[in-house]
């Protein structure tokens, strides 16, 4: 579903992302774990072509969806209008718009309100619904739990797990190890713009989360 080869992004003399390589297969969930400034968001934006890569290439197969770290949605529109737009643009049956909004637990009353009236968490849900609409085969999620409370995070994780079991491939960036361990089959540890190592997650346990945290700290403290 996704193949990234030697992807790099340089700003002036500094490399934000260097020689990133990864592949994600159908039904696989991969975590991108890194401290702030490790290059996670830049890497995802390079994959999507929002940021022009200095080196390397990305192959995206089939329909995909992107959930930005801080979703900026048109404030004067309602969530329903926004999703109906996506349905129209991507030839998705229009009844999927309210269904996707219901999936992220936005009420029928909320989905017709202007997005400027939404709380941060509701905006995040609306943005996720926008991403989910149309059943994309690949989901690129940049800090999807940002701004959500514990209940919201659990609900989001459930949705991602359902999509994964339905065959969707997921790439999720985060610096919160516990969320990542619950969902992902393997985690790529990023530091100083590089993917330093790939760690398999077999048991989705707390012990694995602690081990990953320790690996992240080791790589982050090393000199670039």
């Amino acid at each position: 579903m996704l193949k990234v080869t030697a992807l790099g992004k340089r700003y002036g003399k500094a490399w934000a992302v260097r020689d990133a390589r990864l592949e994600i297969a159908k039904g696989e969930a991969v975590g991108l774990l890194g401290a702030n400034g490790a290059g996670k968001s830049t890497l995802i934006k390079c994959m999507l072509g929002l940021v022009h890569a200095t080196t390397g290439s990305t192959e995206l197969t089939g329909p995909y969806a992107y959930l930005p770290e801080q979703p900026q949605l048109p404030p004067s529109l309602s969530a329903l209008a926004l999703l109906r737009f996506k349905c129209g643009a991507n030839h998705i049956p229009p009844d999927q718009a309210p269904a996707s909004l219901a999936e992220v637990r936005l009420s029928a009353a909320d989905i017709v309100r202007p997005l400027r009236q939404y709380s941060k968490g509701m905006r995040q849900r609306a943005s996720l619904a926008f991403a989910l609409c149309g059943d994309p085969g690949l989901m690129l999620l940049d800090e999807p739990m940002s701004g959500l409370d514990a209940l919201g995070r659990a609900q989001m994780l459930d949705i991602f797990k359902q999509r994964k079991s339905g065959g969707a491939a997921i790439l999720m960036s985060s610096h919160i190890v516990s969320d990542m361990v619950q969902l992902c089959d393997r985690v790529l540890v990023m530091a100083h713009g590089r993917i330093c190592e790939s760690v398999a997650v077999a048991e989705h346990s707390l012990a694995e989360a602690k081990a990953l945290e320790s690996r992240l700290a080791d790589w982050t403290e090393q000199q670039p």
């Binding site: 830049t42 934006k45 999507l48 072509g49 929002l50 940021v51 022009h52 995909y64 969806a65 992107y66 930005p68 801080q70 979703p71 900026q72 949605l73 048109p74 004067s76 529109l77 209008a81 926004l82 737009f85 996506k86 129209g88 643009a89 991507n90 030839h91 202007p114 943005s127 926008f130």
Partner: protein, 270 residues
């Protein structure tokens, strides 16, 4: 094309659902009638004065739309990353910019239509009630014709807005540059006109004139006052002059949009 039309429609909805849009629509229906008050003070020819005032108000309303609705929309899209959700549909950057541009022009049309309708009714009212002070009859078609021609330079200025926004870092930068362009558009033609006078030209270094001419060539020609004056004063405009005027602005808008797309394609959307 399949994604262009939905984005055009969405852009229209996005603008039309703003409160400021509905207020402006109401104001534009009211303004022509308010213009009767200052126009009635010029009892030697109400028609000409009224049309002049209506054209001036139209310029002002088009600027309000451009600065307070169009500029924030496109600058916010690019600066804050609202455009990410459209571009990752996926959608080509050129197509995205073009759809936004067309959507804004479509959103402008109801405002223009409301103003033109209200202004036409006002002119009809003035013509029938103050016939004795009305030198040029049948002013409604003249006004509608002139108002449609006034739209042309604003089409070009909207394209300039996209060109600026494609390269600017955000709304403040976009507004400053757009305001500068608008100011130059208005101020340069009279200065250049003055330079054509022998007395002024003799006292001005040649390079200043050349520089001003060059800058003026780069800007859209907003000084449609000539067109408005001709129409308001009942003078006929040749079809060649009108066609040339329209072509000039359409070509300018197209060129500005092409440059905007080139700049936008090269830009990193962080």
């Amino acid at each position: 094309m399949s994604r262009t039309l939905p984005l055009v429609t969405l852009t229209f909805s996005e603008i039309a659902s703003q409160r400021v849009y509905r207020i402006l629509l109401g104001v534009l229906l009211l303004v022509p009638w308010l213009m009767l008050i200052p126009a009635s003070l010029f009892m030697f020819d109400i028609g000409k004065v009224l049309i002049d005032l209506l054209f001036t108000a139209l310029h002002a309303s088009l600027l309000i739309f451009l600065f307070f609705m169009a500029a924030p929309l496109i600058a916010r899209d690019i600066e804050q990353g609202s455009c990410h959700i459209f571009l990752t549909l996926p959608m080509r950057r050129g197509r995205y910019l073009s759809a936004r541009f067309v959507g804004l022009i479509v959103a402008l049309m109801p405002l223009f239509a409301a103003y033109a309708l209200s202004a036409s009714l006002t002119l009809t009212f003035a013509e029938s009630h103050w016939a004795a002070f009305y030198v040029a009859p049948h002013s409604v078609p003249l006004f509608d014709y002139g108002a449609a021609l006034i739209l042309m330079p604003y089409l070009a200025l909207t394209a300039v807005l996209f060109l600026i926004a494609a390269a600017a870092t955000g709304l403040p930068e976009t507004m400053v540059f757009l305001f500068s362009v608008w100011l130059l558009c208005w101020s340069l033609p009279p200065v250049l006109g003055a330079l054509l006078q022998a007395e002024v030209a003799a006292k001005t270094p040649t390079w200043i004139g050349t520089l001003l001419q060059t800058v003026n060539q780069l800007l859209p020609d907003l000084s449609s006052s000539r067109i408005s004056l001709y129409l308001a004063h009942g003078k006929k405009l040749g079809i060649e002059a009108v066609a040339g005027y329209c072509l000039q602005h359409l070509a300018y808008a197209l060129l500005a949009m092409m440059l905007a797309v080139i700049l936008f394609k090269r830009r990193d959307l962080t």
